[in-house]
């Protein structure tokens, strides 16, 4: 049978505060075990949690960026369960009254075609600690540094219909949270985590099928693959006339399968109740407006502006605004030259190639936007040709010299002198009489042969426009 997948995503994003959500312990990643812990975040008796104002501001910012309605009053509840990474025996979260609801964001499902994905709610909560399992010993080690680190959980509506849409939604949300600078987005370190709820229903059917929840999706690729696998698994079960079991499943990236997490299932009864230690959170217009005033340009706005301001294609603008750092790099580069498309091509080509090969982030790339801009300036004003620019670019990776001084040192200045080039052209024509004859008898493909010879003779420095003209004249 033909099925339609129904997918909803829950994203946990770690907020970029200096301190935890309810105590002054540092949130820095990689500290020695249990170094960032205190009686509050380890749940000792008699302590009181006090809410971190910055975490609330970041949650408000996330809500505005995802078009949510912010609740004037929200509250904190206790979610009760037992696990060694949760020292209090409950997680402080927002259950009945979350800070924001009813948002949406738009994703591009094919070029030029947008789809709106609803966001059910955003709530604030604290993270749990970390368990390290010793496979050879019958014990686990507990590190509570992450306990109490502020998170927002962003829950989507079940509006997603394919693995590709799920990936597009996640990438968009990831970009937005990084644009507004509330989350570093590091998926390996767990600052941006995703769970997926998936069910299938016969095509055309209104009612949802039984869903499973997928965990451990810690890269965009894993999300796509895991959902793909789960769709096939459920379709197979349904085709057999059997029922999908509602359960939590873990993605195993080594085997490319999802596995049932039996055993952790039994207590999905968290007995939520209001946390009596925490007072209601009131967010007034003044607070919301001050966050709004501080809001940077978001990916969609930036993309539209790039299309208008720099005359870029929809595709180029989408690529260049995929991260704030890349967009900044482009703008810094482009402001030095008048041909903006040239900057776009260079960044989407050699620069992004370099990012990939060096495993670098754009902001730590050895070739800065300033020096790329300078290089493209030299190309645009004909000091060097495209070939020379490529050579200089490669040199820039391992050099502190400026593009101009590299051009000088390597003698790459373009030869545009008419009479000098005329001499070279004559020389090449004289040296290749057979080819010259063939060309004149109609083998016009040999034009590029002559071009190549001239370039070789001038060590690639000839102005291609001028020699094209000269050749056309002389042939």
């Amino acid at each position: 049978m033909q099925y339609e997948p129904v997918i909803g995503l829950e994203v946990h994003a770690q907020l970029k505060t200096e301190t935890k959500i309810f105590c002054g312990c540092s949130t820095k990643f990689g500290a020695p075990p249990n170094a960032n812990t205190c009686p509050v975040c380890t749940g000792m008796p008699g302590v009181l949690p006090v809410l971190n104002k910055k975490a609330v501001t970041f949650a408000i910012k996330s809500a505005i960026a995802t078009n949510c309605t912010i609740a004037r009053e929200s509250r904190f509840d206790r979610k009760n369960y037992f696990y060694p990474d949760l020292p209090k025996g409950y997680q402080i979260s927002q259950y009945a009254y979350p800070i924001a609801e009813h948002g949406h964001l738009s994703i591009e499902i094919e070029e030029g075609l947008e789809k709106i994905i609803g966001i059910t709610r955003i709530h604030m909560e604290e993270d749990a600690g970390k368990l390290i399992h010793e496979p050879r010993r019958d014990r686990s080690m507990v590190d509570l540094n992450r306990t109490g680190v502020p998170l927002v959980e962003i829950v989507s509506e079940p509006d997603i219909r394919s693995p590709a849409e799920a990936a597009a939604y996640l990438k968009k949300l990831h970009a937005i949270l990084r644009y507004i600078d509330v989350c570093d987005g590091n998926m390996e370190q767990g600052s941006f985590r995703c769970d997926a709820n998936i069910s299938l229903r016969p095509l055309g059917e209104e009612k949802f099928g039984t869903r499973t929840e997928l965990k451990n999706l810690n890269s965009f690729k894993h999300v796509e693959k895991a959902i793909q696998y789960e769709i096939q698994r459920q379709a197979y079960i349904l085709d057999e006339g059997k029922n999908v079991i509602q359960e939590t499943r873990l993605w195993d990236p080594a085997k490319n399968i999802t596995k049932s997490m039996r055993g952790k299932e039994d207590a999905h009864d968290y007995r939520y109740f209001p946390d009596p230690d925490l007072v209601p959170l009131i967010v007034d217009d003044e607070w919301i407006n001050s966050v709004k005033a501080d809001m940077p340009e978001l990916p969609d706005e930036k993309k539209m502006r790039f299309i208008k301001e720099y005359a870029l294609t929809d595709y180029d603008a989408a690529v260049l605004t995929s991260s704030r750092e890349l967009a900044d790099y482009f703008e810094e580069t482009a402001k030095k030259i008048s041909d903006k498309k040239l900057a776009a091509n260079w960044i989407m080509g050699p620069v992004m190639g370099l990012v990939k090969s060096e495993g670098n982030a754009i902001e730590t790339l050895p070739v800065s936007s300033a020096s790329l801009g300078e290089l493209l300036q030299l190309l645009e004003n004909n000091t060097i040709n495209a070939n020379g620019a490529k050579i200089v670019f490669e040199k820039l990776v391992n050099s502190d010299q400026s593009p101009a001084s590299l051009v000088k040192d390597m003698g790459l200045e373009q030869v545009s002198d008419q009479s000098e080039l005329e001499g070279v052209v004559d020389e090449i024509l004289e040296a290749n009489p057979a080819e010259l004859n063939s060309y004149r008898e109609g083998k016009t493909k040999l034009f590029s042969f002559f071009m190549g010879q001239i370039m070789k003779k001038t060590k690639g420095k000839a102005d291609p426009k001028i020699i094209t003209e000269l050749l056309k004249k002389k042939l």
Binding site: G24, C25, N34, F82, P84, M141, V142, I282
Partner: protein
């Protein structure tokens, strides 16, 4: 009776409490009494009383995002039943 034996056993399980079988009926009885007593509040005449939004008398108690030196493992782990250097040690959990 508002609370059955089964309820008591389930709540005890959720709270990871061991309850002596002989005491289950007694607890069922006691918890039922408490809930019945709470129900009495419904009979109270509250006409004319002003509605209160919650038990709290203040809102927005917050702190600035400034790091305080954490006491760290010396304090946190001082009562740990078992530790290995600065880690707590617990029986193996399947993760």
């Amino acid at each position: 009776m508002k609370i059955s034996r089964k309820d008591v056993e389930y709540i005890a399980h959720l709270a990871r409490l061991e309850v002596d079988d002989l005491l289950v009926d007694k607890f069922a009885d006691q918890i039922s009494n408490i809930l019945e007593y709470i129900d009495k509040l419904k009979d109270a005449d509250v006409s004319g009383a002003e509605l209160m939004s919650g038990a709290a008398f203040q809102n927005n108690v917050m702190r600035e995002d400034i790091v305080k030196v954490s006491p760290g493992p010396d304090v946190t782990l001082s009562d740990a039943p078992e530790r290995d250097e600065d880690f707590y040690v617990v029986p193996r959990v399947v993760g």
